[in-house]
Amino acid sequence: MNDNRELSRTPLHGWHIAHGGRMVDFAGWSMPVQYTSIVEEHQATRQSVGLFDISHMGRLVIDGPDAARFLGSLLTRRIDDMAPGQVRYSLICNEQGGVLDDVLVYQIQLPEGGLSGFGLVVNASNRAKIVQWLHQHRGDLGVGIDDKTSEYSMIAVQGPRAIELLDSASDCELTSLRYYHGVMTRVASFRAFVSRTGYTGEDGCEIICDAADAAIIWTRLMERAEPMGGAAVGLGARDTLRLEAGMPLYGHELSEQISPIQAGLAFAVNLRGREFLGRDAIAAAQQNEQLPVRVGLQLEGKRAAREGAVILQGDRPAGEVTSGTFSPTFQRPIAMGYVKPSAAAPGAPLAVDIRGQHHAAQVVPLPFYQRGK
């Protein structure tokens, strides 16, 4: 890949620059890793509300008479029973049962023409691969595949006061919106699809709006968020938040070599009565008791176990860290990684090799963080 290539910019790029966003290349996008401090942005989200520009994520629309059948043949999870406005977390796997991407599927009722269709939100890093994968498997089905990433923008509003903020800024009453459901409404008087979803472990919503309206919506939301102790949040805190919430990140906990079963994502796989790509391999993985599995690790001290660090049981390698950080909420290092099943039981005393030194680590149940009800 050419290092000098122009990075893609979201409609909020100018705002990020103007507000001290430290910009980095993330999957070919110029994105803010932080504005003030990862810890401050993390705490603002846990205690009040955080606003995240997630416009870099891929937004695809799959429509046409065979849309449900087509997606059903590729997604690990059943979608033919979804109600309009419903959202589901699913995986797309290859023939070997390895994860190509983890996605959100939106059942959308398209007003024009009355066709029902689906929205697919995919990882920025996997967008080109998934678009190609969809085209490759379309065959002669009656399906439209449209990459609408640049036409729309996406903003996440997350935290205990997220719904309060959005209720005050939108035309609908979001308190009654069920988790993993969405609704077409107006935010700051602009048309937007708002779903009760997120990637932080907090209550909150994700907003999909026209790219042209994103900057005004964002500014209006920030005006309301700041007096509440809210903040704009960069990718740095997005990562620490999702890590505390035990959520996998593609390229770390998920890859084409890892099955959903190993990743602890069996809830996102419906095997019974269905045929889809990777199904047989996933069924086999379910019976295989030798495969490494995803665990949460809690460490002593202050040194974080980072991606690639070797996990030890006694003096023997038992696995590898896939993500790790110093947890702002718990004030100690936490990590996720894959270990062999004999080392995976909660409480199992392990160690992690951090730059040549062995640090005690313990398997703990995921998620690390669960919000109070």
Binding site: S37, I38, V39, G236, K302, A304, R306, T325, R355
Partner: protein, 132 residues
């Protein structure tokens, strides 16, 4: 210490050289620019007293929420003292990077690297370029 009186390595360490009993001793820390860039520091692994360090080689590690970063020795020599209180009050790295935030003192055994260090004006210019 005043930032204008210090020398700087291109890897953002500052150096104050003093004569102590005939030997040149360098007090070393990291610049305000570097601390600002790191943010959210949680840990420092100090070098050991007595350690032989080589100019431009890592001799200390600082860890933030985001990542681990090496601190490079700006001079060659032996570590004769470390700021042992620093790990328990990392906040002084940002509040007083050129004073209370000092990291270690190195007795210089080979002065050749001193010529490579920048004065304040040259270092400010580098920071302006990196910050742009």
């Amino acid at each position: 210490m005043k930032p204008a009186d210090l020398l700087y390595a291109k890897t953002h360490e500052w150096v104050a050289v003093a004569d102590e009993g005939g030997a040149k001793v360098a007090t070393v820390g990291i610049s305000a620019f570097a601390v600002e860039a790191l943010t959210d520091l949680v840990f420092i692994e100090l070098p050991k007293v007595g350690a032989r360090v080589q100019a431009e080689q890592p001799f200390c590690e600082v860890e933030s929420v985001k990542a681990v970063s090496d601190v490079y020795a700006p001079v060659t020599g032996e570590v004769v003292e470390v700021n042992a209180r620093l790990p328990d009050r990392l906040e002084v790295l940002s509040s007083d990077p050129y004073g209370e935030g000092w990291i270690a003192k190195i007795r210089i055994s080979d002065e050749s690297n001193l010529a490579k260090l920048m004065n304040y004006a040259a270092y400010q210019k580098q920071c302006a370029e990196e910050g742009a």
